[in-house]
Symmetry: C2
């Protein structure tokens, strides 16, 4: 994924966010999109991606639609209604996390 361990826990949020924007995507497409968006900084490995997709599906946040293109199989994922709600709350969670961590590493000097 990246040499940084900080990305741990963020993969499912990334997936949910991309599917909010693009409506339906398949696994390989997600890896390429993330690589592009991050200018190569973040490379999602298959070993991380596919289990994450399967879990989101099992949790009822994604639904699948198979499609054969150029004689190769693609599994298109899209958000369910529950997935849409989940995306909103997970993004809020991420914003809160970023604020919190910045409050620690970049604390406002006390005015006393």
């Amino acid at each position: 994924m990246s040499n940084s361990k900080l990305y741990k826990g963020s993969l499912s949020i990334i997936i949910l966010k991309l599917l909010t924007e693009t409506h339906k995507m398949y696994g390989y497409e997600i890896t390429q999109k993330v690589k592009e968006l991050t200018q190569g900084e973040l490379n999602i490995t298959e070993g991380a991606l596919y289990p994450a997709l399967h879990k989101l599906e099992a949790d009822g946040f994604l639904e699948v639609e198979m499609q054969r293109v150029d004689n190769r199989l693609r599994k298109y994922y899209k958000l369910t209604q529950a997935g849409n709600k989940e995306e909103v709350s997970r993004i809020e969670e991420l914003e809160r996390f970023i604020e919190t961590i910045q409050g620690i590493v970049n604390p406002k000097p006390s005015l006393g």
Copy 2:
């Protein structure tokens, strides 16, 4: 630590950062400081904290100084020279992570 899994991987950075500011701290003090800084959002558990401190020490980033206060033992930790360097690079890593993740979840709309 928090109900959010996003903090996974950030504990060692938090410790290094606090010790850059406060020079020397003991474990329990770190948990209280973090709770205060985050207004209760982040509560570091002992099961996470102590192994993290031990690892940072084993890696040569922290050194220990025992002190008995009110008949209770405290292990004060402070940064080594290597720990100081590590703090700088880990903070940079965190800033990069935040930029990258924001580039994904908050993408600039293309101007086309």
